[in-house]
Each structure stands twice: as C-alpha cells, then as structure tokens.
Amino acid sequence: MQIHNKSGQYAGRRKIVSGIIIVVGLVLLGRLFMLQIIDPSYKAFARSNFLRHITDYPARGLIYDRHGELLVYNEVHYDLMVIPGQVGDIDTLEFCRLLNMDVSTFESRLLQARRHSRFRASVFERQISKTTFAAFQEKMFRFPGFFVQPRTLRRYTYPIATHTFGYVGEAGPGIIGNDPYYRPGDFIGISGIERAYEKELRGQKGLRIRMVDVFNRDIGPFHDGRYDTLAIAGKDIYTTLDTQLQLYGEKLMQNKRGSIVAIEPATGEVLTLVSAPSFDPGLLVGRQRTRNYRMLQNDTLKPLFNRALMAQYPPGSVFKLVSTLIALQEGVVEPHTRYGCGGIYHAGGISVRCRSHPSPVNVVTAIKYSCNTYSSIIFQNTINNPVFGGIQHAFSHWRDYLVSFGFGRTFGSDLAFELPGLVATADYYDRLYGRSGWRSQTILSLGIGQGELGVTPMQLANMTAAIANRGYYLTPHVVKAIDDPSSPNTRYSLANNIPIDKEHFETIVHAMHMVVEDGTGRFSRIPGISMAGKTGTVQNPHGENHSVFVAFAPVDDPQIAISVVVENAGYGSVWAAPIASLMIEQYLTGKVQRKWFEDRVLNQSFLTAQP
C-alpha cells in the first residue's frame, strides 16, 4: 500500500513531464517549420554549395574591311578566377610564389572578391601568362576555389582606324547594375564599332551547371545538362572601310592635327575616317589598358578625341557651296548674275575683305575664286527676300536648308559619339540682339561660313557627297554587312533628299570643277582625273587658320567624296587640298604617281606650330 501511496502523491507530475516533452517537441517542430518552410535562404545556400555555374565565353565577332580583309581578331588569354566561399586552407605562400604576388595583395584581392559575392566567381588575376597558367594548372587541385577562365583579347592587323573600331573594356558597375547580362570581369564595347555593335559582336555567353562535392571535385552535369546553354559566337562585322585608303590617310596625317573623312556618295559608306593624331588600338587592350588610357588622356594633343566626328569648326569658304545653292533655289540669284568685287564689301558699317581676283564675277567664277563679296551679296539677298516678311522667318527658312544637308544635327548612324555641330536659330539671334535688333548684315559672316556655325568634318564630307549626288545623301555609316558579307546592312539605304533642284547642283558642280581646273584648287589637280572641289580657310582666333578642302571625283561618276581639315595649317589650297587630291588619286588609281607632291605632305609637320 505504501508504494501505491507514494505513487499517488506525486502521480500528477506525470502531466508536467508529459507537458515538457510535448512542448519541447513543438518547439523543435516550430524551429523546423521556420528553417524548412518559411526561410528560403537555405535552399539557395544548398544550391551554391554543390552547383558551379561555369560561363563559356564566346569568341567576339571579327571585324573586316570592305574588301573582306581581316582587321580585328581575337587572341586567347587566361584569367585566374576565384569563388571566395570555396577557398579553403590553402598554402598562401606557395600560391603567391606561383603568381609572383605578395601576401597582402593576395589578401586584399580575396577580400574584394568576397565583398562582391561569396558564391560567384570573380576575377582574381587578369591575363596570367602562359607559363604561369601551365604552372598553376598543375597545382590547381591544391587551391580549391580557384580556377582558370580562358578569355579572348582583341588584336589588330594594322595599327589604324582606332577611333572607328573603338575599344573593348571591362563592364563597369553602372553597366552591371543596369544589364543583367554583364558580370564583373566581362568585356563590353566602350566606343566606336565595338560599342555601336556590341550586341552583335559579343554573341551569347553559354552556361554550364556542374555538380561538385565538398572537396570541390566535379561530379558531373546538373540534371544531365538540361539547364546548360551553349555559347553562341559573336557575329562578324564587315565595315565599309578601305584599308589601303585608311592606311594612306593616316600616313598623310602624321604630325598633323585634323581629320579626313571619305564617303562613297552612292551608298553613304565611309571609306576612311582619320582623326589625327591617332594611336595604336592595341594600346587599349589587356592589362596595360588602364595605364595607357591614362597616358592618352593626359596627352596634350588629345589623341582620344575623335576629330572627324566631334571637332566642330566654322566651315569657312567651303560653306559658300551651300549658301549659293540656297540662293539659286530661292531665285535671289541667277547663274549669270554678275557683281563686281573691289576687294572689300561694305554693308551697314560691316565690311568683308576679299582676295584679289578678276571682277566682276558670276556664280561659277565667284566659287572658282572664292569671292567673299559675291557670297555676301547673295546671302543678304536671301535673307532680305521680301516674300518672307521678316528676318526671323527668312532666316528659319534658310536654316532649314542647312539642316537638310545634315548640319546642326547628328546622323544617328552607327558612329559612336558623333556631335551635332552648331547652327544657330532665329530665336538665338532674337535673344542676342532683340527681336528687331538684327539685320542680314548682322549675321553677314554666315554667308561666307564664319560666325555662329560649327560643323564636323563628317558633316562636310556628307555635304560633299550630297553635292556629288546632285541633291541627296545616304546616311554615312561604317558597317556594310553583319555576319554575312553578302547580306548588306540595309539600315541606311534610304536617300535623304535636299529640297534644291538638280540643275542648281549641276551649276555648283561645274563651279567646283573649275575650282580644281583653274581656280583656288588648281595646284592639286590630278592628271587624268576630273575632280570637283572647294577650298576653305577657316579663321581661327586662337592661332593659325585651319586649312580645309572638300572634293569629289570623278565629276561625272563620283566614286569618292572627301573632306580634309588640317588644323593651324593656313590656306585650304596649300595643305588640305593636296591631301584630298592624294587620297582621291590613291583611291581611284590604287597608287600615287606624284611622289614629290606626296613627299611634300609627308614631310610637313604642324604639331610644333600649335598655339
């Protein structure tokens, strides 16, 4: 009985003990519910534990010239990658010795990679040499978390057309944040064709998912490779560039500042785009890129600046072609209208000087001798035309013509970083002088291509192509075909028409032919080739005038339209015209006969004459 009593006295405590067991069971279940059902992070952890995402980088597309000559290609190199979460207890000293790196660099790199992601691969050391790669490959198993990723670097057949090709660099944090395609260490086109055609050139990265065990040993493909994607090689780009002409143009522009733009008028294809001084595109490749870039950036000659697309000059006398065409179309001058020129033109207290030439002149001879008086008169006639009933309206109408030539705006083509130049609006003058405060003589300098005008060498070449076509142009572009050379790039095949009658263009073309045959450009005539051109000497308040020449040839079947600007070189006829003439000879005949003429250009340097 005693036993029963004893049992009875504390028998209620069974409930407490049972309660404790049940509560503990429920607490464990609650915790498991949190871990297994509520918290998703452990699933991600588990995946990153045993899955390795291996990126296969496709070869970047190649770049060819218009004749199919290879200009830009790839070379394999190796990046050492790290997944910080997998780096175990490794022999740091041995590792550093292999890479020829000090321990503190090792640690800071690892920390940096860890900050990016514990589970994603980061670049640990870029472009390790082949010997380092071989030595490392052998001992790889001792350094879990590290692996070598083959990548490609750009190589160039010739050190030319840097600005057109552009360069490839590592995608920065801004790009990575905006486009999920890019990961740290990925390359992206930064400028030029590499930038404009990045999507085509880069191809598509492939992804393989592999399983690994706790020792980072490869176990096999995840789900038999069901989620793997193949890398798709980048597409090749066939440019419109003519390698021989580009090479020759860069040679001629050595030791000069300025640019050459050559366009095939019938297609708008850019044959040559030279911005001088230039640099070897190979400088902006690989490990030395950052250092070289800084060096180029600090160069006072600004080689990184693409003058052909970004430099803006007043056009000077070459602009008379446009202003005369407008005057003809507006009917304020007839081809045979003659005005006398006494070497200076006065209009309401403003005077424009002119060089001495036979007088009087008509439209053709005014162009031939680049007569400032004639241009000023017909400009005033255009602006003062009573049909508009006010200068604002007349000027806006005049300005519309300029825009139709491609001035004052970008072409929106595949040329990265082109600038629009400057063509002032009527509003601008209203603000500057007051609504009734300006007259045609106020803006008289526009008539001879000075004043509030800024045009790029590309716009000048396009203007020349439009004249060669007698009234239209195709948007200038540098890519002829993508992927398949026989399927042309049709993005720029629509003609942009200029609202000026063809007969007026014929008048101007004739005048330009006269410029070369017997006028300011006669010095640069090419024997056996009919060339039409116009000289320009751009007044430069900061130093020696800029030498400008635009031309196309042959006159009756234009194959090439060209603009040449040589900064601080003086008269257009003296330097720009000979360069244009040599370029045209090279392009049309494949060689240059006039060696002395060529040597004169090659031996000239303008880099010391800078302000």
Partner: protein, 420 residues
C-alpha cells in the same frame, strides 16, 4: 501458456513497433548518408550502413535475451551492473582510445565501444534500486546522498573523459527525481531559469542582464512592498541571480576549453566563423533548411550525397532526414519520438513497483534528453555538444545501450504483476 508466449503477449507491442520502425528509419538514413553510386553492398562491413545492420541484428538478440532472462536478475544485480559500469568508466580513462578529442572509447578489434552508454543504463538501475528500497515515504539524508551520488559519480567520470555532451545527459535523471518528489516544482523551475539565464548570459553582455534583473526586482518590490519581508526576498533573489549571471560569464571566459567556447559562441552569435566551429552547424542548417516541405527524395539530398555535413551518420543524422524527407519527414521523426516517450511514461505510471517506475522514468528522461538536444543542435537551438539521436544515429554502443534500457523496461512492464 508457456513462459515465452506469456512474455510476447504481455510485452507492449506499441513500444516494440516504434522501436523497430525507428531503427529501420535510422538504417535507411545512414545508408543515404554514406551511399555512393555503384559502391558498397548493403551487407558490406566496410561501410557504416553494413555495420549498423549488424548492430541492429545483434541489438535484437540483446532485446530477446533481456526478455528471456528472469526479471529478478535486473532487480537483484542492479547495483552490481552499476558497479561494473563504473569500473569500465574508470578503466577507459587508462585503457581507452581518443576519438574526437574525447577519451571515451575502448577499441576491441575493429569495433569501438563506449562504456558511458552502459553507465546510463547502470545508473538508471541503481537509482531505481535506491528509491525502490527506501523504507520511508520521504527520502532521508542517507537516501539523498546515495541517490545524488549514484548519478554524480558516473557524470564526474564521464567529464574526466572530456565528453561534455554525455556528462550533461546525466542531468536528465532530475526529471525522474522530480516525478518521485525528490525535486520540487520550484527547484525544477529554478533549474529552468538557471538554464535560460545561462544561455542568455552567453548571448549578451552580462551587465545588460543584471540591469534587466534589477529593473524587474524594482517592479516586483514596488508591487509587493506591503508584504512584510517581501522586499528582503526580492533583494536576496536579485543578488543571487546577478551573482549567478556574473559567475557564468566568468566561467565561460576562464574555465571552458577553447573549442567548447567556440561552439557555444557559434550558437549564440550566429555563423561567425563558417570555416571553423560554425561550419558543422551552418551546413547542418543548410541541409535541413533546403529540404522544404517534402524533401529532395531518398538519395537525392545534395548536402548529404556530396558530404557537406560532417559526422552525418552519427550526431548529424537528422540532417539527412530533414534534407531528403523535408518537413514531412521531420514531423514523422519528432512524432515518433514524442509518441515513444509518452508511451514509456504511460507504461512507467502503470508499474506497481517503485523500482520499475523509477527505471521507466529514467529511461524516458535519458531518451528525451538525447532527442531534444540532438535535434536541437542540428537546427541551432542548442550548442553542438555531440550526442547521438537514439535508435537513429549510427553506432553500436548507443544502439545497444538504448536497446538495453528500453527492453529491460519492457521486461519489467511485462512482469509488472509479479513484482511485488
């Protein structure tokens, strides 16, 4: 009715069934944890699942033998069994081999044997014997001395083996003592508070806790200010608890071994050092947490199959269940354990003799402690102290010890009418 038939008839089928199911689940998960495609036959004794199969079969032999031996053997030889287990604990300190920094194992041929598993069994028997043979209802001084001594002696010896986990298992006998009225509700509550404050002290600055205690003391003091002597009690309690918190902190900083300290720090301060002490726990939580509701499927656990969790067949076997069978599997395992424990309590309460009731409570308490602490440590609720999950984890000593305890109790239960 032969004696043998009577034993089968009188044995509790529920516990036997639960035992068999859990052992089978354990073996399946050990198989999954060790499995490598195309390698290892089920009976391959070079693998842990092959060995475990052997342990299970020999465990069943032990179970059958226990059921066939006369019940008076266990009651009569309780103290001798206890004495032998104490001797083994002493011997292992000299003749044992060191595994995982603890000197708790004898090695006989290819097999390792852990005497502390027998010591739990022996202690349960000895405690049952002491309480069962008491002449008075309330324990006298001599009884108390014997009762606590019989628990503390093996606990101390196990601590000398540096096996902290198993030492703590001896704490669980307090649950049996509570049932017998040796420990009051207040003592159990104080013990609970002590454990709570202990963990809290490790988690945060001790002065914050003491500040919190002071705040509570002021509040309680204001409420009970009209009761005579209450203020004095509150102040005393506050000083005692503050002293306790401070000494826990001091002990942690100055007495614990570095690796214990590291493990506790990992638990309380999160995954501070994932490559070191925190690695086990982190990988364990990944395995369990990635299981989801239904798990990844048998042999499909990536953490399990690619060996990311260390000690996965033994202390961390629950990871395999959590990963491959998900929350559903966890629910089943916890359900089975709670069912088994409550069933054992039920059986203990229906015993007519104090001896078998105390023994039943002791067995339940030990199993409960293992269950709570083992699963608790795999999910990060309890410091990683390395004790196995009974019936599930790989290991002969653990399985045999558990089998002995459960079936000895079942034998008592089967003979409960004869034991007066």
């Amino acid at each position: 009715m032969t004696k043998k038939q009577g034993i089968i008839k009188n044995s509790d089928k529920t516990v036997i069934l639960l035992f068999l199911v859990m052992v089978a689940i354990g073996w399946l998960n050990i198989y999954a944890a060790e499995y490598t495609e195309g390698r290892g036959h089920v009976f391959d004794l070079g693998t842990s699942f092959g060995k475990q199969l052997m342990f299970i079969l020999s465990g069943l032999v032990i179970a059958a033998a226990v059921m066939l031996i006369d019940v008076r053997f266990f009651t009569g030889f309780a103290k001798i069994i206890y004495g032998v287990s104490i001797l083994l604990l002493v011997a292992v300190l000299f003749a044992g081999v060191e595994i995982n920094a603890t000197k708790a194992w004898f090695r006989i041929g290819g097999l390792a044997f852990q005497p502390s598993e027998i010591a739990k069994y022996g202690t349960a028997l000895a405690l049952a014997s002491i309480i069962g043979n008491m002449r008075t209802r309330k324990p006298g001084k001599a009884d108390l001395l014997k009762g606590f001594g019989v628990i503390l002696l093996p606990a101390g010896l196990v601590l000398l083996q540096k096996d902290v986990g198993t030492t703590l298992v001896f704490l669980s006998f307090s649950l049996a003592l509570f049932r017998e009225g040796w420990i009051g509700l207040i003592a159990l509550a104080v013990g609970g508070i002590a454990v709570f404050l202990f963990v809290l002290t490790l988690m945060m600055n001790e002065f914050i806790i003491i500040g919190g205690l002071a705040f509570m003391a002021v509040v309680i003091g204001v409420i009970t200010r009209k009761k005579t002597g209450a203020v004095l009690h509150v102040i005393t309690l506050f000083l005692v608890l503050s002293g306790y918190v401070y000494s826990v902190d001091y002990a942690f900083d100055n007495i614990l071994q570095p690796h214990h300290k590291a493990r506790i720090e990992v638990l309380v301060h999160g995954n501070a050092d994932l490559q070191g002490a925190g690695y086990n726990l982190h990988q364990s939580k990944i395995a369990i947490g990635s299981g989801g509701l239904w798990g990844k499927g048998f042999l499909q656990g990536t953490q399990t199959q690619f060996n990311f969790v260390p000690e996965q067949t033994t202390d961390f076997i629950f990871c395999t269940i959590g990963e491959e069978w998900g929350f559903a599997g966890s629910l089943v395992i916890i359900g089975l354990f709670v069912w088994l424990l409550l069933r054992l309590l039920y059986l203990a309460e229906r015993q007519k003799s104090t001896f078998s009731r105390v023994f039943g409570y002791s067995v339940t308490s030990v199993l409960f402690f293992h269950f709570a602490v083992n699963i608790g440590m795999t999910v990060g609720l309890v410091p990683v102290i390395g004790i196995p999950l009974p019936l599930i984890s790989y290991g002969g000593s653990s399985l045999w010890g558990t089998t002995l305890m459960i079936f000895t109790f079942l034998k008592f239960d089967a003979n409960r009418h004869e034991m007066l």
